[in-house]
Amino acid sequence: MGEPIVKIVGVTKRFGAVEAVANVDLEIARGELFALLGGSGCGKTTLLRLLAGFERPDRGRILIDGQDMTGVPPHLRPINMMFQSYALFPHLDVAGNVAYGLKREGVARPEIATRVAEALALVKLDGLGTRRPSQLSGGQRQRVALARALVKRPKLLLLDEPLAALDRKLREDTRFELVRLQEQLGVTFVIVTHDQPEAMSMASRLAVMNAGRIVQTGTPHELYERPATRFVAGFIGIANILQTAPGRWLALRPEKIALSADRPATERAIAGTVVEVGYEGDRSLYRIALADGSTMRVAQTNVARARESAFKRGDNVWLGWSDDAGQVLHE
C-alpha cells in the first residue's frame, strides 16, 4: 500500500488515572476512508484529537506523510477537522467561514474567492455565501463545516461523528454524499463514529476500539465475517456466541442459520422452540430456546409476501448451519 499517510506508533494518552488511548499502533493508507468505531469512552475521539494536535501523546509518535508530528501544534499540521458541533464561526457568514483557513495561509484575495466558490459548489451550497450560520439548517451547517475543512486541500480530513447531529433520513443521504466526495477528491478521510452500520457502509477499512485499545482492524467484510474476538463479534452486528470447548468459541451470525420444521440435512443441526418473533419487515428475527436452556437468534429474510412470519411463538423448529458458517474465536 506504499508509504502510509498516517503512522501511529505506540501512542498512549492518559487523563489522570484513565488511559484514554493505550499503546495504539495504526497505519492508514493514502486515499482511504478509514473509520474509528467504538462505544462512548473507548478512546476514538481522543485518538482523533491526537491526530489533529489538540492533545499531546504521553508516549509514542504520530507520523503524517512520513513527518513526525508529535510536537507540532494544530495550526502547522497539514490536517483539517470537521467538528462534531461543526464549530462554525457565528460572527462570519458562510463565505467568511470557508475563507478563514485560506486567509491564514496568505492566499491572494482573488484566489480565495474562486476557491471558496468552488468549495461551496462542491457541497451544493452555491449562492448561500452571504448567509450567517444561524440562518442555515442543520444539514447546511454540516456542509459548510465540510467545505471549510476541504477548501484547505488537507492531506488528511478528520471527521468527528460527522452525521450524528442530522436526522435519520438526511443521515443516510449524507453518508453516500461523503463517500462520493471522498472518492472524487481522493483525500484520506478518518471518521470517528459510534454507529456501526454507518462505519460499515462508508469505510474502506475500520478499526474497532475498546477501552483505549484497537481490538481489530480490517475491511467491513473481514470484521463482520471474521471477527477476532467475542467483543468485535458482538459489537458489529448480532452474533450467537457458542462455547465449543474451554477457551474456544464459535461466532455464528443469525442469517447464517437456516430454520426449518423438519431436521435439515446441514452438517450441524439442533432442535429448539421459538420464544420470540421480531418482525422487521425485510426480515424476521427469531429467538430460539434450546434444550440446554440457552437461546440463539436466527434471522430469516422475508422473500415471499406472506401474511405472517413462517414460524410462531411456541413452534418446535430445527436450526441448521454448515461447518464453515461461523468464526472460531480464542478470546
Binding site: 489533529a52 477537522m81 467538528f83 460572527h91 478563514y100 483557513g101 495561509e105
Partner: protein, 292 residues
C-alpha cells in the same frame, strides 16, 4: 410584539405592575430633573432662600459655552474617563478571560473575589486609598523602609491618584460583562481556528475578540459613563490642579452657591452623556435579541 401588547391591554393587574416603575421614575427622576431645569433657567440671587430667582434666562448656559473653564473641565473629564476606561479594559480582559477559562467549580469563588470590594462602602475604600498614597502613607513607608527609594514622591493629589482610584473602583464593572461574554464563548471555535491554521494570537484577534465585543462595549460604557461625572475620586484623591466636570459642579453649588450655573452644568453633563447611554442600551437590546 403585537401579541404582547394585546396581552398587556387585556390584563388589568399587568398594567398596574408596569405603571409602578413609571410612577417611581416620574416622582423621583422626572420631577427632580424638571426642578433642576427650572433652576438652571433662573438667575442667581445670593440673598434669597433658596438663592435663585425663577424665570427664563439662558445666562447660565451662555456662560458655560463662553467661559473656557467649563470646556476645559469637560475635556479633561472625557480624557481622564477615556484613559481610565482603556486601562480598566486592559486589566479586566485578562481577568475575565482567566475566570471564564477556570474550572467551572472555581468560577464562583473567583467572581466573588472580583465583587468582594463592594462589601465595603465606596467612600471608605477611597479614604483607604488616601491612607495608602499620602506623603506618609503606607506605600511611601514601605518604599522608605525597604531602602529602595530614599525620597519617594507623593502620588496623592496628582492625576495619577485619580487614575488609580477610578481603575480600582470601576474594575468590577468591566470584568463582569466581559466575563458574561467570554463565558458564553464556545471554546471549540478556538480549536477550529487553530485547526484552520491560525496561530494562538491570530485566533484571539479573529475569533475571541470579535465574539466578546458585546462584553467590551458594555464594560467600557459602564466604566466610562459614571467616570465622566465622577466627583468623589477627583475630590479626595486628585489635586487642586485637576479639573473634572463633577468637581466644577460641586464647587459652583456649594462653594460659589450659584445654583443656576450648577444646574446648567448638570443638564449639560446629562445631555452629553445621553449619546453613550443610548449606545449602551441599543447594544444591550441587540445582544438580548440575538440570544432569543
Amino acid at each position: 410584539m403585537s401579541s404582547r401588547s394585546v396581552f398587556l391591554a387585556r390584563s388589568q393587574p399587568m398594567r398596574l405592575v408596569i405603571a409602578l416603575p413609571f410612577l417611581w421614575l416620574g416622582v423621583f427622576f422626572l420631577l427632580p430633573l424638571g426642578l433642576v431645569l427650572g433652576i438652571a433657567l433662573g438667575t442667581n440671587s445670593p440673598d434669597s432662600v433658596p438663592p435663585v430667582e425663577l424665570g427664563v434666562d439662558l445666562a447660565s448656559f451662555r456662560l458655560l459655552f463662553t467661559d473656557d473653564l467649563y470646556l476645559a473641565a469637560w475635556l479633561s473629564s472625557l480624557r481622564i474617563a477615556a484613559i481610565s476606561t482603556a486601562v480598566t479594559l486592559l486589566l479586566g480582559y485578562p481577568m475575565a478571560y482567566a475566570i471564564a477559562r477556570a474550572a467551572p467549580r472555581r468560577r464562583p469563588l473567583l467572581l466573588m473575589l472580583v465583587m468582594l470590594p463592594f462589601w465595603t462602602s465606596f467612600l471608605i475604600r477611597i479614604y483607604a486609598w488616601m491612607g495608602l498614597l499620602s506623603e506618609n502613607g503606607i506605600l511611601n513607608q514601605v518604599l522608605r523602609g525597604s531602602g529602595l527609594v530614599a525620597d519617594p514622591g507623593t502620588i496623592l493629589g496628582t492625576e495619577w491618584a485619580i487614575y488609580l482610584g477610578i481603575v480600582y473602583a470601576y474594575l468590577p464593572f468591566m470584568v463582569l460583562p466581559l466575563y458574561a461574554a467570554l463565558e458564553k464563548l464556545d471554546w471549540s471555535l478556538l480549536e477550529a481556528a487553530s485547526d484552520l491554521g491560525a496561530r494562538p494570537s491570530t485566533a484571539f484577534l479573529t475569533v475571541t475578540l470579535p465574539l466578546s465585543l458585546p462584553g467590551i462595549v458594555a464594560g467600557c460604557l459602564l466604566v466610562f459613563i459614571p467616570a465622566v461625572g465622577e466627583f468623589v475620586i477627583p475630590d479626595l484623591l486628585g489635586g487642586t490642579q485637576t479639573l473634572m466636570i463633577g468637581k466644577v459642579l460641586w464647587d459652583e453649588f456649594f462653594t460659589n452657591s450659584d445654583w443656576p450655573l450648577a444646574s446648567a452644568v448638570a443638564i449639560c453633563l446629562l445631555v452629553l452623556l445621553v449619546g453613550p447611554i443610548l449606545l449602551f442600551q441599543r447594544q444591550q437590546q441587540r445582544s438580548l435579541e440575538r440570544r432569543s
